[in-house]
Structures are given as structure tokens and as C-alpha cells.
């Protein structure tokens, strides 16, 4: 049987301010002129810069091959 863990417990264990700070820093990468070493992150950033505010792909991801290039 699955051990029950309540989400508030998990959240309480997390420093939410620290998480919030990290999330903000990651989002700021879009406007920073940095080139992260992770090519996966680079790829996501390039898409975000090319299509700001727009969905990364024109159609749903239900068909898995349709990833933004």
C-alpha cells in the first residue's frame, strides 16, 4: 500500500522563499545574456526568447514527436 504523505508536509519541509528565489532566477535567464552549459536548458531558453509568451509548439504534445526545434 502506498504510504500516505500529505502535500502540506512536503511543502513545509521546503524553504518556500528559497524555492521562489530559484524560480525567479531561472525565469530571468530569458533576458540574461548567458549561455548555460546545459544544452537542454539552452534549448528551452532559445525557444522562450524566440516565442515569448507563446506556446512552444503550435499543437498539443499528445503526439510526442512534436517538440519545438
Amino acid at each position: 500500500m502506498l504510504t500516505q504523505v500529505t502535500i502540506p508536509t512536503l511543502v513545509a519541509e521546503t524553504n518556500t522563499a528559497e524555492l521562489s528565489n530559484k524560480l525567479q532566477q531561472i525565469r530571468r535567464l530569458r533576458v540574461d545574456r548567458v549561455q548555460p552549459g546545459s544544452r537542454h536548458l539552452q534549448s528551452a531558453l532559445e525557444t522562450a526568447k524566440r516565442k515569448p509568451g507563446a506556446p512552444t509548439a503550435d499543437v498539443s504534445y499528445i503526439f510526442i514527436g512534436l517538440l519545438p526545434s
Binding site: 524555492l19 530559484k22 525565469r27 535567464l29 528551452a44 512552444t56 509548439a57 512534436l66
Partner: protein, 381 residues
């Protein structure tokens, strides 16, 4: 205004496998039993006309038609030729239309691969891992496993020059009792570069995942895969779920039924022409996706007014109070809609995978944040 651009066509309501987790045949919904086994020509034509009319009316620049089932190849090659021809004849010229298929690969011989290449139908194949893992769930009626057939189909596609660009990769249903990293390595050993991992859609608060010792078994399966993929650092290797997470983390939107919480942009047309919302909702109850609408009589957009379809359109506005307060709501978006279901209060719940999603997203955030430390210490380029 709501935009639909992905149309899932149930080419068949029958299958040559008996996968234990299938929401079409093995869970709460029994509606496939009352469907014709194959979408007939009249329904196919009505579906194409309705989709084309919708795309023309709302000036859709792109549309994706996904052939789905059951097992779509059971409809036969002639059905696919006709389907592509009918859509080609009806879709507006201004709407760029592409085709895809999700298949178990069992029937996908060289003739099928040639046909898909000729008709430019992208192909994704369901594969759960090495033989012992895949064959535990994905069995034929005889009880025999289907791993050998699925891998043979993948290899046919990989050998076909014209098909390579249309290969959508493999779709793997997460089984938390297995070793995620070993499964990822197996896929890589097969030369597979595009893959996705799907949390079982049949789990909800009435039927939570069972048999796992860990409180976060799905995160524990996915995190080692993420770590391996992240350290491999090969942009040719795409894992849709993780790519989506990264896109969402850097502030993009994704049209996904798994993450992000954007309104779903997909419409399902069943074998009899029924217009339905995302079909994983079938896991929530018998006949759950039935709206009483049909492409023979109703325009596609009429479905959007239906309360069940509205669930899929609500996106983040449909999240429960706990989710709306959560720091991660823009990223997980509440996860799969069916995973939030409870008979007593519908979808006004967190995901049954909330603990797993929280742990996984924190892990991905930490991986990116560690990276931030290293990039901020370097001069900008």
C-alpha cells in the same frame, strides 16, 4: 477564444493487445464495447468535414490529425490512404495539416512503414522498457508479450531514410516498481532519441496508486532518468516531459495534457463520430467523455460549451484552492486532469501524483539552480 488544433481520430475501437493499464478497455469506461470496431467511411468523411469547417471558420493556421485507437493499424492500410485523401480534399488550403499515429507497432511491417513515409504520417510507438518490463503489461490475447514486435517496428523505422524524420519516438508508461534509469538506458541502447514517460492516467483519489513502498514512487522512477539525461547533455535526446518542465520553468507555455495547466487544445472524434474531450478522462467513469455530440450533426465548437469539455478548457482556473496557492502551479498545472478526480467532489483536488510532481519539480529546479551558480560566475557571452 479557445483554440483546438489537435484532433485525435479513433480509427479503431479494438486492439490486438490487452495492456493491463489501458483506459480504453481495462478501466472504468466500457464505451469502446459499443463502438464500431473501425471508423467507417461515412464517419471518416463527416469527421474530416467537421474538422475542416472548424479550422476554416476559426482561421487555424495549423492542425494535427492523430490516428489513435485502440490500435489504429487494425483499420488497415486502405483506411489510412482514404483518411489522408479525405482530409487532403476538405482541409482549407490555408491550414497546414499534418498527420501522426500512436501505435503498439505489432503490425508495423515494411509495407506499413513505407506507407507512413509516403503519406507523411508520423509514428510513435508504445514501449515500456526491456522485454521483462514491457511484456509484463503489454501482452497479446494469447498472453505472449509484444516487446519483440514493438522493437522490430522501431528498427524498421530507424532503417527507413524517409521515415526517420517522422519518427515520434517511444511512449513509456511509468511503472514505479521498475528501475527508471535502466529503462532509459535500454531506450538509448536501441538508438532512440525521442521519448516520453507517461504517469498512469487511471490513478485518481478514488483509486490511488498502490503497491509502492515509497511515498513518491513516480518521482523516484523519473529523477534518475532526468539525472542521466541532464548529465548526458545531448540536445538530440528529447524527453518530452522534461523538456516541457524546462520550458515552463523558463516561462514558456506548453500545450500539454500533463503539465503547465494551459487549456487543452485537443478534440477527440470516436469511431462513431462522437465529439469528445481528452480521452484519458475515460478513466474517471463509464461514459465520462460522452457529450451526446457527433460530427455527423454537430460542429466541433459545440462541444466546447459542454460542462465536461469545459473541465479540459478551464486550465489553471480549474485548479483547487491548494493548487492555486502553490508556488509550482504554473509548472505542474495540476498535472493530468484525470489524476485530480474523486467521485465525491470531481476535480476540485490536487493531483494524486502531487507529492511526486513536487519532488520532481524541486529536483529539476535544483539542477537548474546549481547551473545558475556556475553561469553567473562566468562572464556573459
Amino acid at each position: 477564444m479557445y483554440v483546438a488544433n489537435t484532433f485525435i481520430l479513433k480509427a479503431t475501437s479494438t486492439c490486438n493487445l490487452r495492456c493491463g493499464y489501458c483506459y480504453m478497455f481495462e478501466q472504468a469506461d466500457r464505451s469502446a464495447e459499443y463502438q464500431p470496431p473501425v471508423m467507417d467511411s461515412a464517419v471518416l468523411r463527416s469527421a474530416a468535414c467537421a474538422i475542416a469547417a472548424y479550422c476554416a471558420k476559426f482561421h487555424q493556421p495549423k492542425a494535427l490529425i492523430v490516428f489513435h485507437g485502440g490500435e489504429p493499424t487494425l483499420a488497415g492500410p486502405a483506411w489510412f490512404r482514404q483518411a489522408v485523401q479525405v482530409f487532403g480534399a476538405h482541409m482549407p488550403a490555408a491550414c497546414s495539416t499534418s498527420f501522426a499515429m500512436q501505435t503498439n507497432g505489432v503490425l508495423l511491417n515494411d509495407d506499413w512503414v513505407n506507407l507512413c513515409a509516403e503519406l507523411e504520417i508520423g509514428v510513435s510507438i508504445s514501449l515500456d522498457g526491456p522485454p521483462a518490463v514491457h511484456d509484463r503489461q503489454r501482452t497479446k490475447a494469447t498472453g505472449a508479450g509484444s516487446y519483440r514486435d514493438a522493437v522490430a517496428a522501431i528498427q524498421r523505422i530507424q532503417r527507413h531514410a524517409g521515415m526517420q524524420r517522422l519518427f515520434g519516438g517511444v511512449l513509456c508508461v511509468v511503472n514505479p516498481s521498475e528501475d527508471g534509469r535502466a529503462i532509459y538506458r535500454h531506450f538509448r541502447s536501441l538508438g532512440i532519441e525521442t521519448m516520453d514517460f507517461l504517469l498512469p492516467v487511471e490513478a485518481n483519489w478514488d483509486h490511488p496508486p498502490s503497491g509502492c513502498a515509497s511515498p513518491t514512487p513516480f518521482a523516484d522512477y523519473l529523477i534518475p532518468i532526468f539525472d542521466e539525461w541532464w548529465s548526458e547533455n545531448n540536445p538530440k535526446v528529447r524527453i518530452t516531459y522534461f523538456d516541457s518542465l524546462l520550458h515552463l520553468l523558463v516561462g514558456s507555455r506548453v500545450h500539454s495534457d500533463a503539465l503547465g495547466g494551459d487549456p487543452l487544445t485537443m478534440v477527440v472524434v470516436d469511431c462513431d463520430g462522437s465529439i469528445e474531450p481528452v480521452d484519458s478522462l475515460r478513466a474517471c467513469g463509464n461514459g465520462f467523455t460522452k457529450l451526446g455530440l457527433n460530427t455527423k450533426a454537430d460542429p466541433i465548437e459545440r462541444a466546447f460549451q459542454h460542462p465536461t469539455f469545459q473541465l479540459a478548457l478551464a486550465g489553471q482556473e480549474g485548479l483547487c484552492a491548494t493548487c492555486r496557492r502553490c508556488e509550482l502551479r504554473d509548472i505542474c498545472g495540476g498535472g493530468y486532469l484525470p489524476s485530480r478526480f474523486r467521485q465525491a467532489n470531481g476535480f476540485d483536488n490536487t493531483s494524486v501524483y502531487c507529492a511526486d510532481l513536487t519532488k520532481l519539480i524541486h529536483h529539476v529546479v535544483d539542477a537548474c539552480a546549481l547551473h545558475l551558480t556556475s553561469v553567473t560566475s562566468q562572464p556573459c557571452v
